[in-house]
């Protein structure tokens, strides 16, 4: 927006907490497992299958129940599906990159594929949290040990003690061949996960 547009802009509706009772009814299996299209259809996204799991913890180290988590990532070739990339040759017709789940008792499991590295970036997944007591907060997680982490501009902009807090760590391989990574989020207090300001940035 330029200055004139800014002056004429409508005032936004305030974000508010989603409260403790975000309906489990609104859950959608196909958003909790991006590798699953439909059990009756032979199709699926390209790429290494990934199981991302972990805990969401509060200031006292207790599991934060009922957190709505949203995930956003590039496909295996590092391309995001946005209006700007429509028709791009590297778009995966079976992958849109948006996931959503509500954590059960503070644990979460999200099935997807390993994101590829976008231009100039290390592979990453954007994670948005909605929860009782807070409005939306956002962060980005990375994969520990990936060589591109050392030159990622977001990681480089962080203090050195913050970087490991955004690293998912390898935790074996599932029977079906999916790589398992763990990523815990600490919403507040000691060892707090760094969150980013997507309104003022």
């Amino acid at each position: 927006m330029n200055d004139e547009q800014r002056a004429n802009a409508l005032l936004p509706t305030n974000e508010d907490t989603c409260g403790p009772y975000f309906p489990i009814y609104f859950g959608d299996d196909s958003l909790e497992d991006l590798t699953r299209i439909h059990p009756g259809v032979v199709a699926g996204p390209s790429g290494q299958h990934l199981i991302l799991r972990g805990r969401v913890l509060d200031r006292h180290g207790s599991l934060a129940n009922g957190v709505v988590m949203e995930f956003w990532q590039a496909n295996a070739k590092g391309l995001y599906r946005t209006p700007a990339t429509e028709g791009h040759a590297d778009i995966d017709p079976w992958f849109h990159g948006y996931g959503r789940l509500r954590s059960r008792g503070g644990d979460y499991t999200f099935r997807t594929i390993m994101p590829g590295a976008s231009e100039g970036r290390a592979p990453n997944i954007t994670v948005t949290l909605f929860s009782d007591g807070i409005n939306r907060i956002v962060t980005q997680m990375f994969f520990a040990g990936h060589p591109a982490n050392d030159s990622d501009p977001l990681l480089q902009a962080l203090e050195s003690e913050d970087r490991p807090r955004l690293m998912a760590t390898r935790d074996g391989t599932a029977e079906d061949g999916a790589e398992i990574y763990r990523f815990d989020i600490i919403m507040a207090g000691d060892n707090e996960t760094p969150f980013f300001d997507d309104l003022e940035s």
Binding site: L10, Y80, G133, F196
Partner: protein, 222 residues
């Protein structure tokens, strides 16, 4: 040095807010990676035909207890562009202040005829409409006597627009002490539905709640 942005406020008298609000300032996102933070939610037509009328569990079922109301409005970006085909997920407590949610242990009365969850899509002009039962206020902090004012939860997603908010009701006694309303300050006015007389004989009154999705995310791909 990391460039820092907002410090998130903690909702006064809200224990969960104290437990879950990040204590450190948010970090600013470097310009060159800013676009990677903008999810694009795929269009999802998950609504069912009768979900816009939350005053009944199904069209052939009885009306739920309490006052039936209509909520209408437009959904727009800050620049005024209507958001078409956006999904509104709506949930609110019943007339007695109880949610039909497995984790609502308040013990308040469940109404057999109220489900309390519905989904609608915005039309080509960004307009939406639904009916529901005017929700009961509920006691959020019995120890200090703080109530949650009447409110309807709304989750809005479509394209790069994403917002979770609540519509409050005019002139409610508990509005002023609500922790999140306190954090909104004068801007709280924008989250109050405006009462109107509806010609509909099936609902007692209407509330107009025009929603503006703010921030850069809302307009990122305009």
């Amino acid at each position: 040095m990391t460039k820092l942005g907002r410090q998130i406020g903690i909702g006064p008298t809200d224990n969960t807010s104290d437990q879950r609000t990040p204590r450190q300032r948010l970090r600013l996102i470097p310009e060159r990676v800013r676009d990677s933070f903008v999810p694009v939610v795929p269009a999802r037509a998950v609504t069912r035909q009768h979900e816009w009328d939350m005053t009944r569990i199904a069209p052939d079922m009885p009306r739920a207890d309490g006052e039936a109301i209509e909520v209408t409005g437009t959904l727009r970006t800050e620049s005024g562009r209507p958001l078409r085909g956006a999904l509104l997920e709506i949930w609110n407590a019943n007339h007695y202040g109880r949610y039909r949610h497995i984790e609502d242990h308040s013990g308040l009365k469940l109404d057999d005829n109220f489900f309390g969850m519905g989904r609608v899509l915005t039309d080509d002009e960004g307009r939406y409409r639904f009916w529901t039962i005017s929700p009961g206020a509920y006691l959020a902090r019995p120890d200090i006597g703080r109530w949650r004012p009447k409110h309807i939860h709304l989750s809005i997603s479509g394209g790069s627009s994403r917002l979770i908010t609540q519509m409050y009701f005019p002139d409610e006694p508990n509005n002023a002490t609500d922790p999140m309303a306190v954090l909104m300050g004068d801007g709280f006015e924008r989250n109050i539905g405006k009462s109107y007389t509806t010609p509909e004989t099936d609902v007692a009154q209407g509330f107009q709640f025009d929603i503006v999705v703010g921030g850069r995310n809302a307009t990122y791909f305009e």
